[in-house]
């Protein structure tokens, strides 16, 4: 079998460069980059390196979106994920990472167990991915229309794209209501995040000092007390002012 593969490989190697499907080649490039970096996120211990691998994986996924003809979603992936969410994550790393806490090791037993469970899940997902005949047929390569205008109009409640085959004819609803829900959701979430993360400097020195000096059970009780009565602690500096 290896000899046969080598034989066909020699035949294929004699093919001209024009036989290469460049769409598939770039797909392979981005797919391998995305998958390898995603696995590197799992295996890396340093949280800064994990963030770097996550940037590469999400950026390669944006390339996959471009290759699938979803250029608007790919651009949003680059702008929101790579440009926004990951900057947020890196800020989180910078605000919380100190020398003893940058890499928190996982036990080898947990790692092996997670590997087994992950491999089983991956086997099930791959089986189901290859189980449908229609999904395995090679793409016909129909180049679709540009998607930015139809998506923008659909978010305003007007559908200008053609309905998918087999769907009932008639008036189709756009995405005006989900758009409004998501926008209000985003506003609430950002207000809540600002509220949760406010005035954090007044607790940090004391918490570190307590964690460094006392044994864990006492420090946990102390932190619980701090959490309940933030105003009752003497010697703390109210940087952010009273609530």
């Amino acid at each position: 079998m290896i000899a046969a593969a080598f034989d066909t490989g020699l035949v294929a190697a004699a093919l001209p460069l024009a036989a290469i499907n460049w769409h598939s080649t770039f797909f392979l490039l981005f797919a391998v980059l995305a998958c390898v970096c995603a696995i590197a996120v799992v295996t890396a211990d340093n949280v800064v390196r994990m963030a770097l691998y996550l940037v590469l994986s999400l950026g390669a996924t944006a390339g996959l979106f471009f290759l699938a003809g979803a250029e608007f979603v790919g651009a949003m992936q680059l702008m929101i994920y790579v440009g926004g969410t990951l900057v947020l994550l890196v800020f989180g790393v910078m605000l919380t990472a100190q020398a003893p806490f940058v890499s928190i090791k996982t036990a080898p037993g947990d790692r092996a167990l997670a590997g087994i469970v992950g491999a089983s899940l991956l086997a099930v997902l791959l089986l189901s991915a290859f189980s449908v005949e229609e999904w395995r047929k090679p793409a016909a390569g129909v180049v679709g229309d540009p998607t930015a205008t139809p998506i923008g109009m659909a978010l305003l409640g007007v559908r200008v794209d053609e309905p998918p085959a087999g769907s009932p004819a008639g008036v189709r609803s756009g995405y005006l209501l989900p758009f409004e829900i998501v926008s209000v959701h985003l506003l609430v979430v950002l207000v809540a995040a600002a509220y949760l993360a406010r005035a954090k400097r007044r607790k940090t020195p004391r918490a570190i000092e307590v964690a460094a000096s006392a044994e864990p059970p006492a420090s946990v009780a102390e932190h619980a007390a701090i959490g309940r009565e933030p105003a009752g602690r003497g010697g703390s500096v109210l940087v952010g002012g009273p609530r």
């Binding site: 490989g9 996924t61 994920y81």
Partner: protein, 127 residues
């Protein structure tokens, strides 16, 4: 230029470089991203690592949505899910951003109270 100098002949024989991709190719990538995310959520003791696992899971789901929505990848020349899949992928990206903001604020709060981001130390409510 000889392609055998660029890629191994065995891979060319497998048709990965010469055949057009199918929806199943994208599903494989989505499955690997999803599995890596689940393993990341389960393994990492760093709260930020758990957050990155969630991002990977949502991203794997997005790959599937875009693959099913892409007219380019459909074998029969149909439109697949059409625009709906891409719109859902957009909403998933937005909700992932919102989730990351709140989870990061919670992580910062936890760090301020416990001086660590180790999720194993978050056992205050343990009975």
């Amino acid at each position: 230029m000889n392609p055998s100098a660029l890629v191994p002949g065995g891979l060319l024989a497998m048709g990965l470089f010469t055949e057009p991709v199918s929806v199943a190719h994208y599903l494989v990538v989505g499955a690997i991203l999803f599995t890596a995310g689940v393993a990341c959520m389960a393994v990492k003791r760093n709260a930020l690592g758990v957050l990155m696992g969630i991002e990977l899971v949502l991203n794997g789901a997005n790959v599937n949505f875009v693959a099913f929505a892409s007219p380019y990848l459909q074998a029969d020349g149909g439109r697949g899910l059409g625009l709906d899949g891409q719109a859902i992928a957009l909403f998933v990206i937005l909700l992932a951003a919102a989730e990351a903001a709140v989870a990061l604020a919670i992580t910062l709060n936890f760090y301020n109270n416990h001086a660590t981001v180790d999720v194993d130390r978050a056992d205050d409510l343990k009975g």
